[in-house]
Symmetry: C2
Subunit: 398 residues, 2 copies
Amino acid sequence: MKILDKGICSLSSFKVNGYREGKYGVTILYHENSTAVAVYTSNKVYAAPIDITRKHIANGNISAVIINSGNANCYTKDEGLERGLELARLTADTLNIPIEDVAVASTGVIGHQLPLGILVPVAKKSLSDLGSSREHATRAEEAILTTDTVKKEVGVESQLNDGTTFRIAGMCKGSGMIAPNMGTMLGFITTDLKVPQEKLQEALRISVKKSFNMVVVDGDESTNDTVMLLSSNEVEGVIDENFQEALDYVCISLAKQIAKDGEGATKFMEVECVGAQSIDDAISISKSIVSSSLVKTAVYGCDPNWGRIIDAMGYSGVDFDPDNVSISIGSDSQELVIVDKGCVKTFDEPELLEKASKLMANSEVLIRVDLHMGSESIKAYGCDLTYDYVKINAEYTT
Amino acid sequence: MKILDKGICSLSSFKVNGYREGKYGVTILYHENSTAVAVYTSNKVYAAPIDITRKHIANGNISAVIINSGNANCYTKDEGLERGLELARLTADTLNIPIEDVAVASTGVIGHQLPLGILVPVAKKSLSDLGSSREHATRAEEAILTTDTVKKEVGVESQLNDGTTFRIAGMCKGSGMIAPNMGTMLGFITTDLKVPQEKLQEALRISVKKSFNMVVVDGDESTNDTVMLLSSNEVEGVIDENFQEALDYVCISLAKQIAKDGEGATKFMEVECVGAQSIDDAISISKSIVSSSLVKTAVYGCDPNWGRIIDAMGYSGVDFDPDNVSISIGSDSQELVIVDKGCVKTFDEPELLEKASKLMANSEVLIRVDLHMGSESIKAYGCDLTYDYVKINAEYTT
């Protein structure tokens, strides 16, 4: 697998562009006659653009996506649907495609009507110069951001078992309101491999489970989450595990970029649960740890307070034997075993805590727990909880 | 119902005392031959004192409770059990009661052995001067605190329907690691009414559900939570709804004191869900809102960002109609309807947001949501999420 460096334009068949005006941005993603699939938030309260996109994507054909940042177009009733459709109509008319082939996505504040007076001119500007240069990619990736501090992108080239070369490119946004089961995040992934709609949907579902569904910033699940996968159908080939592997890589890369850019985060946290009896157990344990405010503040404070880790495991709802658990804390350079099959090593070696604290000063903190019960494992991704998370969220809307 | 002002000594038949040395405190609660019941954490990882207390309380007879702060005696294996029993034995020997009638409770850091060299002298000092004065109550209430900033106490006197007068007194600690289903909290409640053990247990279960189980500070559920109810059996009477009402009052009062003293909190938050089809729905909705980091930071920032409230309702798992919900925000002086049966009033009256922001500057912020689906309701208690929560928890152990 080769890593490409043009972000969403690593696959040049999709033309993109994006512009901002203040906190409002509009990004366009365009390829006539793509096959498209998506997964959405499971929040009972979901936004108008999700209604529109669900309907338009049903037959698997999407030619363009219009994405706006700054306003979620959620809890906005019929007026919200109309305004979302107005953005779709503008896109359809400009690109000369049916409105039913335009998907819509929004992210931002809930409960305010879309400010079309601002968004329409920005959308027109974006639509007037679509392309696939590095600059187009950057503009598209930046216009979808809200509290994010950096754009999030990835591109890979890989081969099927039969030697056929394909590409996958992706961009996303997400920083706060990031919970298990996606967050306030939008993700757009493109590929050139021709894959039947149902197989594409299944591949996306599998990758999302291991990536976007394993990211936690604050545990709040948003109303607008959407991850969309579009294929330009240029490359003929029979989907195999190499495609899944590349798609997993793309989704996990984007998910980690979201965790690293978590609101106020100073550190990236990776929590791996190994030795679980089932994958669901591994998911529950790793998410419980990565979500814990007390673990997150301990990571911020370089405090190897593993008691908070075992505590979070204990309330995860998973059945395990606390006296047969191992816990290690470290960074990418080194990993220290603090609890070894229930034996607390710091009882005899208190200096371990100081060593662990030093490792936790790195920008990436790794926590690994082993249940010693089976062979299932998974990683969850998150970040520390800092003063700046509070600052950002205490000052966001009004 | 009359409110009494001597805290845990509002019922003088229980003798108490407490002392601290640095971060370690020991409190004793004593009445020979009490009937006692308790509820505990549901965390899979629970502390040694819970093992001891569960065993000793099984026959319903407890004469004394020894409580230490500063160390949770959790994840400490057989050595932890032995050290916990040593505190129980000291109490039993000093008071000349069987060790099987002594309950033990601990709160503090997880994964360190009890420092008996410090705790035993403090325990001896506490045991040497038990009493029921205002000063004894204060010392007992203060010695169980950890990151708490104020003692938490309550006392009431009430009458059964037949005119019999009874009293209930209580004290508790709890400030962080406060989750649904209790938190890092210990609560001790005494009464003089003679109630059969099973009925006492049932009354406690009912009250805890409405009080300690409805408090959320950070969503981390501790390994040591215990609420104990002891009766001195002095007053003969048949338990009726007036006892339950008084016990509810005592438990809710203590729970609110915990929420108000939440780590780093500047504001108390009360979230009421009304109009629910079932009490479980009301509980899920109100807890989802009170637990949301985004709602908590909005309360800190006086930001009437009701979109975060409807978002938290949406991921609560409860089935409801978002278009038929009402949401109000206010303080104890005034309440503003922001969403009225799905109609967003701020669309026409944007000045409502500024008014709500002003009300949110009060030290108590009330949020009420009405599902308009039934007649069940409940209140959840919490606090804002502030810089100081992060500070306290980034600097706690090492």
